[in-house]
Amino acid sequence: MPPLARRNLFHDKIRLAVTLTGITFAVVLVVVELGLFLGFTTTTSGLIDHSQADLWVASRHIPYIEQGALFSERKLYQVRATPGVASAEKYIARFANWKRPDGGHESVQVVGFNTDQAMGGPWNIISGSVADLKRPDAILVDDLYWNKLGITHLGQVFEMNGYRARVVGTTHGIRSFTTSPYIFTTFKNAQNFTDLEEEQTQFILVRAQPGVNLQQLQSNLQSRVHDVDILTTAQFSSMTRFYWMFTTGAGVAVLLAALLGLVVGIVVVTQTIYATTVDHLREYGTLKAIGAPNSYVYRVILQQAAMSAVLGYALGITVSLFVVHEAQQGGAAILLPWPMALLIFGLTLLMCAIAAAVSINKVTHLDPAMVFRG
């Protein structure tokens, strides 16, 4: 087959550059907006998703993790006594005041957990270890927030709610949605840092025995332990995400921006591909005049659009990977998992197909008699 679509596409280098710029721009826009949405969503429930717990015991009608009210730790023993429970530990995630070396103050979120159990602890540890937290006043802080909190080196000592805190380790990439950095420490230290009374806790993390039906265990716990909600990790994660993303409007704004990016992308791509089609209208008229069925002309336009989509996507995803990589170094979480990359490839093809459809509509109504007009 004569490479009419490919030649038409590559013939006018400036037009090609404009088309590819349009698609690249659209791809980057959609990646950034969807990536931000995904990043924000994931960040809101990061502590829950990485908790390695099966069930969470929380105060009644809690909308999201930061809102957990305190309750007596006696419930911990009720939980541990429930058949099917392998382990249960106290857990806290409360705000505290951090004093910077320059005298400034920052809000932080202290996360206290039992360092002897693998539940509720930090992940992506790049220096120090969970075991180091057993030392008095020891804390782990993510490297993304070192500047914000005035940390310059391990072993540095700070003041938090009037208590001494020593940085003994670092994580990487654990972002906080509330802009208050997470400070990981032992539950005991966290009690001090947050002025929590003895025999109180904010959450209880539960791990079920192997083979236990989780829904059944959840139901049993709910009936045995009063005045609390028993939530699976997935339920609590969804509730927290939903709250931040949709109840506060933050997520809606990001999602709308992503949709806007998609619409702008479609408009840009449609405009450029339509303009390319109009440039070659006389050729399509000639094809129709010499007997080409509409389907043949459509194929040429669709091939052009598909080639534009593939090239534009390749460029767009390359730029996006750079943007995502740069964002990893900052506070904004832009995620680009491969299923999303695939989805955006599909969206790019869809954008180009819509653009082609508009062009095809123009060609469908093209009068082949135009070829006889000069």
Binding site: M1, P2, L4, E283, A289, I290, G291, P368, A369, F372
Partner: protein, 254 residues
Amino acid sequence: MEVAIRVRGVTKTYAEGAARVTALEGVDLDLHKGELLFLMGPSGSGKTTLLSIMGCILRSTSGSLQIAGQEVTDLSERELPQVRLSHIGFVFQAFNLFPTLTAVENVEVALELKGIRGTLARTQALRLLEQVHLDNKAFAFPADLSGGQKQRVALARALAGNPEILLADEPTAALDSHTGRSVLELMRQLAHDHNRAVAVVTHDSRIADLGDRVVHIEDGAVSSVKDLRRPEPVISPSHLPSHSDPQFTLARPL
């Protein structure tokens, strides 16, 4: 002679706002295999409209059209491209080549539409270019060809699939007189040597002697027919025989 295209009582009117413009009115015409027929007339007389209708590109408002013995007047828009593809080759005033394809690829497009692909298409395309004396420019792009060479490529493309009818709209308008004449000599050869029906719309009276018949169109109707193969005078409409004689263009008096 076998009739390739039969036009009977063809009228074409266009709506222009509230007004109606008659481009053709009651035209009868037969185009025979093996003849080169010129459609001549002043600008706006309706000759290109007639050619478009003969080529199944434009529908007439009334009247009938037969292509290679097949009644095509009532065929649907989906069916007409197949008629064009099977029977008719087109040559356009502005060449209408695909500028991004080489000469041989331009011909291959038409062959592909007729189901000929790959090596066979390339072989046939090169042979067609050879037929129009352009085999040495097979891999040149249209931008690198002269007007005459472009028109020869267009001619080779029109001949793809060996159609029995060739319709050309002002094929010499963009060419100098010498080149134009050589292109028309080639068309004449294609008509006579290959028993092809060739109709050419032209303004150029200097090349009229190359045709077998010259049909003059004025104000949307046939005003005269001149048969150059016969030592006969110009036949005015009033002297025309009835519709039964297909050798002549039959026109209703305006």
